[in-house]
């Protein structure tokens, strides 16, 4: 996956202030987004997916801070910028133009007091993409049409509360697309929608990626969404990447017990709903001192080593990595934490947060 890179997240660590302590919620993750690809991040609620996404365009909640890592943005010209170090003014110049984001809650992500048209048009004004108001309006209507909103000229004047959830998410997509970004960050864009609408929205996002040659970072807790949209997928658990692979590979050959758990919790036709599988246990309370595998309390395989030492990321193949003693050592592959820490011959234990 080293070919044409767009965004390279290295060792990203985000901590949230809780009382006097800073608790890490994203622990040194590495994610690479190539051009023209849809990358998935999958994991259950609270594992740090949204925090990861929001750290890219600097909209973290005030309590959260990026404590380590870099996010290298690769310009087509070859120029590289670390997004982490950008000042507010500089990152805002990129937001909406290079990076766009859509959110989980289409109901509250739009300003209830403004028409959807003027909210989309505002982006053109902020980035001075179209100064003529008439032409700007025409462009917005064109975009509303492109995302499949019926009667776009009429809907231009609609307020958010006059639209359904699916329509609002289309509006969000139109707003994201009008600046022709290179990367779309989609934070659970379909979670609040019904299944049919969900499929339509995913199809729309895929279509937009293709026709605007845009990459997407698709965040979800739903393996179904991953299989229908993503090229490559990262499995996240408690702020750590547990497994990453090409989507096909991950579905054919899931190695981490957590990934397997996620896959087997997809209900299939004919399943008895009484016996829907879930992964036993909840996300355990974090303890800083705990050095073992974050998943060991819930893992079905009971291995002593897992309680004392977190596994490194084992390379299974060119397109498949896993952080599990059992699965990894079977594959007798040595650690490779990407390019960021070539020097460290020893595996990094307990994540990278110190």
């Amino acid at each position: 996956m080293s070919e044409d890179k767009l965004l390279e997240i290295n060792n990203l660590t985000v901590s949230i202030k809780e009382g006097k302590e800073m608790l890490p919620v994203v622990r040194g993750i590495n994610i690479t987004v190539p051009r023209n690809k849809i990358i998935g991040i999958v994991g259950e609620s609270g594992c740090g997916k949204s925090i990861t996404a929001k750290s890219i365009n600097h909209i973290l909640p005030p309590a959260a801070k990026i404590t380590a890592g870099s996010m290298i943005w690769h310009e087509a010209s070859g120029q590289q910028t670390d997004l982490v170090t950008l000042k507010e003014k500089e990152i805002r110049k990129r937001c909406g133009k290079d990076l766009a984001m859509i959110f989980q809650e289409p109901m509250s992500s739009l300003n209830p007091m403004m028409t959807i048209g003027s909210q989309i048009k505002e982006l053109l004004k902020i980035h001075k993409l179209e100064n003529n108001p008439q032409k700007a309006k025409a462009r917005v209507i064109e975009m509303l049409d492109a995302v499949g909103i019926p009667e776009p000229a009429l809907r231009y004047k609609a307020y958010p509360h006059e639209l359904s959830g699916g329509m609002r998410q289309r509006v969000m997509i139109a707003m994201a697309m009008i600046g022709q970004p290179k990367l779309l960050i989609a934070d659970e864009p379909t979670t609040a929608l019904d299944v049919t609408t969900q499929a339509q929205i995913l199809k729309l996002i895929r279509k937009m990626c293709e026709s605007y040659s845009m990459s997407a970072l698709m965040i979800t807790h739903n393996m179904g969404v991953v299989s229908s949209t993503c090229d490559y997928v990262y499995v996240m658990y408690l702020g750590t990447i547990m497994e990453e692979a090409l989507t096909q590979e991950l579905f054919n050959n899931p190695l981490h017990p957590y990934t397997r758990g996620l896959l087997s919790s997809i209900p299939k036709l004919g399943d008895n709903p009484e016996f829907l599988k879930t992964i036993p246990g909840n996300i355990p309370v974090d303890s800083k001192k705990f050095k073992g595998c974050k998943f060991c309390m819930r893992c079905s395989d009971d291995i002593k080593k897992c309680f004392f030492e977190e596994a490194p990321l084992y390379k299974v193949s060119e397109n498949h990595y896993v952080r599990c003693h059992l699965a990894g050592s079977d594959n007798k592959i040595v650690n490779s934490e990407d390019t960021s820490n070539k020097a460290g011959s020893e595996t990094v234990k307990g994540g990278k947060n110190k």
């Binding site: 909209i59 003014k89 133009k97 959110f103 209830p112």
Partner: protein, 304 residues
């Protein structure tokens, strides 16, 4: 539109209730007003004649109905003390009070909102602490103290502004500030908290993701949303302003409703007191309707 008509009917019912209430309250107070009006030495016959002419000898329900039918015809009775129709007196005083209320409401709004917005934008930084102190003073210092302090500072100390109201716009400045001071404090505090609350709203994340800085997003998107409770509050402030007007008008010598009401209390002038209270209730109801209308205008979700 039907909502508007419903509101108007509501106002009429409120006014009816106010009339009934004040009628009852004033009748509970012991003593025959007719006897009070006349001197101690008036003979019994005179008192009886006056009592009859004031309808005070009739049964209470009948008295109320007489008062009500009079009110509907625009006759609020005759002032005992000033010997003039109550309606005339109230209408004469009305423009002064309206002027005072408008000026002080404008002061409370502009000053209060500006202070609240600056506080919210610089949350927990120096301007915020400073302005929070000021607005705390605003809500906690009583009207008469503000009025006397302003007179001391701007007349006696620096002789910048006139001591009393003389009909000129300049002489309205001190009364307007004195009366608006409390409201400005409440408006500032509510504006601040309401705007800070908007920070938790997801649409601000959307605005930032579009490319607005945090400050610009808060001012362009948050402010309008934050104004809704503030507008509602200003209508409520109107009632406290009218009660404050009693004091302000007396201190600055403004011949408004407040001063009229005060003199009516002093002279136990029942019809006049009824008239002033009724008028105040009318203004407050009007204020509520206006704030509803403004909210409907700026909040698309309330439009039918």
């Amino acid at each position: 539109m039907s909502a508007f008509i419903r509101r108007c009917v509501g106002v009429l019912l409120v006014l009816l209730g106010v009339m009934l209430l004040i009628f009852i309250v004033l009748r509970i107070i012991p003593g025959n007003p007719a006897a009070v009006l006349l001197s101690e030495h008036a003979n019994k016959e005179t008192i009886e004649r006056l009592t009859a002419s004031m309808n005070l000898d009739k049964a209470l329900p009948e008295q109320f109905l007489l008062y009500l039918s009079g009110a509907l015809r625009g006759d609020l009775g005759q002032s005992y003390y000033l010997k003039r129709p109550v309606l005339d007196l109230v209408l004469e005083a009305f423009p002064f009070t309206v002027k005072l209320t408008i000026f002080s409401a404008a002061f409370a709004w502009i000053f209060g909102i500006a202070v609240g917005v600056i506080s919210a934008v610089y949350q927990n930084r120096l301007p915020d602490y400073l302005f929070r102190g000021i607005s705390l003073l605003g809500v906690s210092v009583p009207v008469f103290m503000v009025a006397l302090f302003l007179q001391y500072l701007f007349y006696f100390k620096f002789s910048l502004l006139p001591l009393l109201y003389d009909g000129s716009a300049v002489s309205m400045i001190l009364p307007a500030i004195a009366l608006g001071w409390n409201s400005a404090g409440s408006v500032a505090r509510l504006t601040r908290s309401s705007l800070i609350e908007q920070n938790n709203e997801l649409y601000l994340d959307t605005a930032k993701a579009k490319g607005l800085t945090a400050k610009a997003a808060l001012l362009k998107h948050g402010l309008k949303n934050a104004m809704l409770p503030v507008i509602t509050m200003l209508a409520l402030q109107l009632s406290s302003m009218l009660s404050g007007a009693v004091i302000t008008e007396s201190v600055f010598g403004i011949a408004g409703i407040g001063k009229l009401a005060l003199s009516a209390v002093e002279t136990r002038d029942m019809p006049l007191l009824q008239g002033t209270v009724l008028f105040s209730a009318f203004i407050i109801s009007l204020g509520n309707i206006i704030s509803d209308l403004i909210n409907t205008c700026i909040d698309p979700r309330l439009r039918v």
